[in-house]
Amino acid sequence: MSVTTFSSTQSQRQSQGGDSPSAAVSLQIQKTLGAMPLEQLDRIFSLAEELREEEGVDLGPRDQSQQERRSGGGFDLMPLVIDGEQWARIEAGLAQRVRVWNLFLRDIYSGQEILKAGVVPYEIVYADPNFHRGCARLPGVTANYLQLTAFDLQQDHRGQWMVVEGHLGVAEGANYALKKRQILRQVAPRLFDGLEILPIEDFAAQVMDVLQELVRIPDGRARAVLLAQGSSDDYYLDHAALARQMGVSIVQGSDLVVLDSRLYLKTIAGVESVDVVLRRLSTSLLDPVTFDPASRFGVPGLLSCVRKGSLAVANGLGSDLANNRALAAHLPAIVEYYSGEKPLLQSPHVFELRDIDVREEVADNRDAYVIRHAWKRGPAHEWAVKHMPAHEWNRFWQQIEAAPSEYVAHKIPTQTQHPCWTSSGSRMQSTTLRAFALGQDKISPCALAWTGAASSLATSAVQTADRIKDVWILRTSPVPSVVVHAQAEEAPKRLRLTSRVAESLFWMGRYAERAEVTTRILRIVQMQAWPMSDSATARARQPLWNAMAATSGHIPDFFLRPGRNPIAHSEVPFYFLLDRKHAGSVLSCLSSCRQNAENIREHFPPEVWSVLNHLYLEVALYADQTPTDKVRMVLEDRSLHQDIITQLDELTGALEKHMLHNDAWHFWQLGVYAERSLMTILTLKEVLAPEIDGVSKISPVSSTNLELLLQMLAGQYAYRSLYHARPVAARVARLLLQDPEFPRSALFCLEGMKRALTATLGERPIKGSDTPLKHCARVIMELNFIDMATYFPSAAESPNVEGDDDLSDMPTSEFPQKLTELTELLLDFNVLISDHYLDHQVVFREPELFDHASPR
């Protein structure tokens, strides 16, 4: 790591005025940094990296490689410093814009007076797909459209802050600012010495305040959720952090359901009504019935709640329209129309390409312009045409000529440069500032800045994580202290787990457990004689192969059907461990487990993710290469099996140790136990009491098979501790079904499920329906009442043995029936758990539902 010291170029005055307080502070920081020994700077940078990784997340969008991020120069120590006075001007200018846009949206979605007056060309509004006709005249939305908005600003060459872009629909990124400040304070506290900087830590609480103001609930607080797209979103971590700090659930469309024009959140404790949604999705994605039918992220019927006034959405439905860049061309007229004022902050001139003269001017001098789509956002919709090859330009121009009103152009700006100080050195860079407005008149000092190359177009997206800068707004005295209403007096509220998250955890538990059982069984079975070969041993071991098949989703005699059996003996280990096409393979299970985990990353600690991810990647690596000798070897000598089992133990350990033992934890446990009890009974049945096509195929069980059965289910140690003798069928059955202390016994698992169910919810009696807990108690009773003596009747021929030893080594034909019965009882859990905690079908019932007034 090399750090160059500032040369004389860095000490040049900033063009915003060298005498301003901000310039002085900026210089002071540069001096402090410049005076630090290189080793100290190195330490600072590596600590910053560490902290960032510790978060388990990176700042900024995630879809870039580590290397790409590093090449951005790493952590930037220089904040963007803004004077109090300058900030006050920005505040006033942005507040004016929010007020005006709010009036504009109200007008557009009601009388459209501004269009009738001809102040704004109606074509811009009517042609924009973000003008949602379904949002017109919504009674629920009366006064306030804009609760949380953001504006991107750049300083022109004279030092004037210009608004280059507005985010009136969804405003993202504030939490990157919080994280950046946090890390900077930790790694370089000295930089803050003696400075009065406006605090930013109460951002989330203030957002909450604005939402509460939007929905006034008499004698209470409005229930809010943050609705986001999910982990596939670039800003997902920003959303998750904001939700956490606000103390609300981050939810996806499928977490919510509409009933009688009221919105409900599905949690494991039932459905909870929701009063306000802070949306992180554009309006068009919010309701597939009214807007884009292809949207997978919305809530069908959400609009009907807004229409009924039972739900408020922030920002108001349809407000995305105000992002239109062609509309921005008419901002001065819009400001004048609604407020009689002039814009307090300027914006770069917008060249509307629907005007033929403008179009020609831009085409003739294209080097000087950036062309942008009028309503589509993101780097894919901004074109610096300067370096575009002629043929590409011609094609692009045709595209514009076909729909010129969809495009605007801006002159490439000359910006003020700001100093940066990263591990690769220090340099001057152009900087974009994103400021957030809360409600109609408050601009948050929690602002975000990022740097880019001088020619950067990066106005609409934070493009490189490492380029994020902290923003320091200097306090001008006297500043009234900030009053936070929302959460000051409240104890942290524990949120109930949403059903979707619970479901993911449940399945994570099940998949992880299935991966383990499959590996364990395979480890034993693959060493046994191939059941298709014609030998006495092979025939004797058939039940074990059947167990392998039955526990991995095949028919039990999968290996025994000549001609229909798709795999050869040598392919067995690959098929069960590494075959992606086989849904029951260990790799498939791990992949599903990881997929579920990825969707709910914020619900468990990074330690857990790292173990799971590592395990999956390692196994996947074996699967995805062409089988080499090494792969064949680890499959044959079973070292991969051992490795997987060890790492799964590590996963369980990490969960046990690092997770809060909360609802989430209990749902994981529920999944593990549900799967394990099922696997134990299925295995036991195939070895002791097999049925083929419903016909019982019981025969005496050899002690070798019993021995192997115990090994398959990790029960050797348990058995030996209890009996100190060679295995006997009845005792093995008792151990696997009824032992209260053996962790793989059905009874132990059911007791575990009971504990988990009791801990999360306790009994929630619902008239006329079985509950999971009741069901659990019933299965436990069934298990306890099994008397092995009736299923393994005493064999008269061996009168000399004592106790269980006189029991038959062959169960009666009632035994397989009993096990089938138990299996069915266990499978019933799936529906019960889903009906009670996930889909809530026990709440939604046809007859009662509409006979009463709506639940609220």
């Binding site: 009738k116 006709r133 009688d260 009907s304 229409r307 939604f844 046809e846 007859p847 539902l849 509409f850």
Partner: protein, 292 residues
Amino acid sequence: MTFNIVHTTAYEYSAPAIESFTELRVRPRQSNRQTVHHHVTEVTPRAALEEFADYYDNVVECLSVPYRHKCLTVTSRSTVETLPHKDALSGLDLTVSEAVRLYWPQRRELFDFLMPSIHAPITPEIEAMSKQQLPSSGSFCDMVKGLSSYIYETFTYMPGVTDIRTPLSDVLRKRQGVCQDFAHLMIALLRAAGLPARYVSGYIETDSVRGGSGLVGATASHAWVEVYMPSGVWVGIDPTNDMLEGERHVQIGIGRDYHDVPPLRGVFKGAKRQQLSVMVTVSRTTGEMVTD
């Protein structure tokens, strides 16, 4: 004429569905051409209906069925009296380009019906066809009527060949389709010429009372076109039957195209497949006869 209309839509799911939410646009609209004497919408399984007027003042009813259900049946029953229409197209002596000019003062209000829309895109193919069929020097009335006849003669009514996802370009190639395809085509051609056109969803009486001229369209709901007259009224034209909208047409709603007025649009979870069946009957209640 007075009609009793029964419109039944049934969804049968391959597996139980949950959390379904549905918007219905099946209530005939009140207008000076038709009076709705009675309307009721019945839904099985039971669900409360919420009612509102959309951007184009169509009546929408929506319902949610959150619990498990195997099928969803919606039956809309209406009694509607239609009034004789005057032939608003005749006696207007101006050219297409004169008409286009006359729209200018109202261009803002008409803009939605001048712009291309999802199902009625204005492609180069459509533009070329429009120039041919609607030359700007041609007589407005003759050209509009002629366009309806052109579609009627050139395209074959053939159910099952297209569905709502079939793009207009496919319809043009196949020369086959159903009422909504012909409506969308006509709308696109009219708009390409600068004439405001909108989509009408509704019903048509297919069999005349005593044999005779059976009209096409009523196995399901019908669709046709309205074109805006420079005189300030919307006039309905049915290219599927090559006729002006008459007493035997009953309007449900209007929009830019099908997307704005689907009889039923819904979302559900659970089942992978669904079987849709639609049945419409339009029967006359009094013995009024078409005299000519």
